[in-house]
Symmetry: C2
Subunit: 345 residues, 2 copies
């Protein structure tokens, strides 16, 4: 089969790799129908974080179950499924506490002999705990992007909002206008926020933010952004703040605009973040979030996609052929696209 | 009047200072009945943090109202009152959000011309927002330590427990066996924790921890303490973790023993803490707490003291004459006492 492979910074290619097979009785093999590129993929794409040359990549996909091991009970051949960005057993103490991202037996796609999500097929370990079946068989083509977004970005934005403690009537600020930040706007609206301040300077992203529920746009960065948000909130700060970037500047901005006694929800992989512990202490601004336990949120978010309440796939503004997915990386790296997807089957 | 003054590291003395007077119509003057030394006083006492020589010190006191300004409405001359460790107006946006420690018009005792709490009298700014009246007039002498503990340490331990999200049935770990850590144990029990693991190597402190509700004692520190707590929790970690020290080692220990998806409540003034953001992200361990908004908790904690449900003053294991309060500092510095108090009137 064909799958994307990381060679070096700014160099990912489609290569022929072995077809996956059932290895354990709890495995399934999924024929990928759609996959996409994540903002977090850019860390290694840009050479900021290390990745082994030759490793398989991608961690977001939806598809059709092709085969299941003898111990798989909740998914069957022919089911249309969503895979969260990590696999997990659903039965360990951490999964039972709602944190499948810390599953004792879970792991990441594209590591330790696991297929990446950017390929024609993926062997899925712990299929019962991992995959979520979309009822009704293969969905319309128009629904696929929204289902694919549930694989990571929608649930990650939701996790930022949950981590920040978003609730009805609140004023929420969102730092970061990538696909996760935009999904955070959507999540804040879904959780009842009354006012949503999105920090964005990019017209295309501003448009999606507004469509997702942003009521105010702040085009500044750093101290100017802090001043603008404080002015919008009468000097008080935001009731909940989503940090969806992962840089030190974004974290500092988030803590500076958070109302004393509120929380910052963070979901951006932290890179060279010097945590502003002094502000956190003085202002009683808490920190929530982390590596999003997307699997735990999938059922409730899927229900909202299926009934049309949310359209999280609006973050995809570039669709390419699978063989052109490397161009999707390049477009995202250059900020020419918010998020790129490809359909395969 | 006489009041404690900071001269230099390891040098605090009782000095004659001017009697306070009403300056603003919202002031009260309180005759101090009892005051005490805080673990946070040790930071400047030991020269770890800077403090202006000649400054007044102490931020915990209870007493009787001697005079009130013309605009004071909720406290009257003769009332027995508890002062939280900061003053606040009770009406600004942050006070209304339950964070009087961020009051727009509030401040600390012993700074900017304010009296310290360790003196015979204290001028209290914003008396209506700050002071809490103990109903029934002057209480029995035996009750005074428990009321004095509400000035800071009891509410601060409670804030750590709230910040950590302690709830019924949980397994809670408490890092730090100072008066705040012990108060955190008490708070965790009060909030319904089923199992409370206290990290302490000191027999006197262990005894108070056990009396306050600790079910398990861990005598190790650092990595050994982490191993012990993980072993006690079946490898899962604590459902809620209280960090009551403020050092980097304590913060790292707290995050290492926190169950994925749980929270660390911190109330120790952070000193040279390199925040473990990687663990926080990977394990979804949140951070709550900060400078305790003690005033907000006073009514509910006072009710529990008055009905005998809690006896937070058990943290005082040294009572000295007011003139001997410098010896209280020395005893706490040398860890010969958990917490020292003095009665004045």
């Amino acid at each position: 089969m064909r799958a994307l492979v990381f060679n070096a910074a700014f160099d990912v290619t489609v290569e022929e790799v072995p077809d996956p097979e059932i290895q354990a009785s709890t495995d399934a093999v999924v024929r990928v129908v759609a996959t996409c590129v994540c903002g977090s993929d850019l860390w290694y794409y840009r050479g900021v974080s290390d990745r082994r040359p030759g490793s398989r990549i991608g961690h977001e996909f939806v598809g059709v179950v092709e085969a299941v091991g003898t111990d798989v009970g909740t998914v069957a051949v022919g089911d249309f499924v969503i895979a969260p960005f990590m696999y997990s057993d659903g039965t360990c103490p951490h999964c039972l506490h709602g944190v499948p991202s810390s599953c004792l037996h879970g792991g990441f796609w594209g590591t330790h002999g696991n297929d990446g999500g950017q390929g024609e097929f993926v062997r899925v370990p712990l299929a019962d705990g991992t995959l979520v079946v979309v009822p009704g068989g293969r969905p319309d083509a128009a629904l696929i992007p929204h289902l694919l977004a549930l694989s990571d970005v929608c649930g990650t934005g939701h996790h930022a909002a949950v981590g920040a403690g978003v609730g009805p009537g609140m004023t929420v600020a969102v730092v970061g206008d990538g696909a996760v930040g935009l999904s955070g706007v959507l999540a804040a609206r879904r959780l009842g926020a009354e006012r949503i301040i999105a920090l964005s300077r990019n017209p295309a992203r501003q448009a999606v933010a507004t469509e997702f529920g942003a009521t105010d746009l702040v085009e500044a960065r750093g101290p100017d952004a802090v001043g603008a948000v404080l002015e919008l909130t009468g000097g008080v700060g935001a009731d909940a703040t989503l940090e969806c970037v992962g840089t030190g500047e974004a974290m500092n901005t988030a803590f500076a605009i958070a109302r004393p006694g509120s929380r910052v929800g963070f979901v951006g992989v932290p890179h060279e973040v010097v945590f502003p512990i002094g502000i956190a202490f003085d202002n009683n601004v808490g920190l929530g979030g982390g590596l999003a336990p997307v699997r735990a949120y999938l059922p409730e978010l899927l229900a909202d996609v299926l009934d049309g309440s949310i359209e999280p796939g609006r973050v995809f503004d570039l669709e390419v052929a699978f063989d052109d997915l490397p161009e999707g990386y390049a477009a995202m790296d250059q900020r020419l696209a918010i998020k790129a997807m490809a359909r395969l089957a």
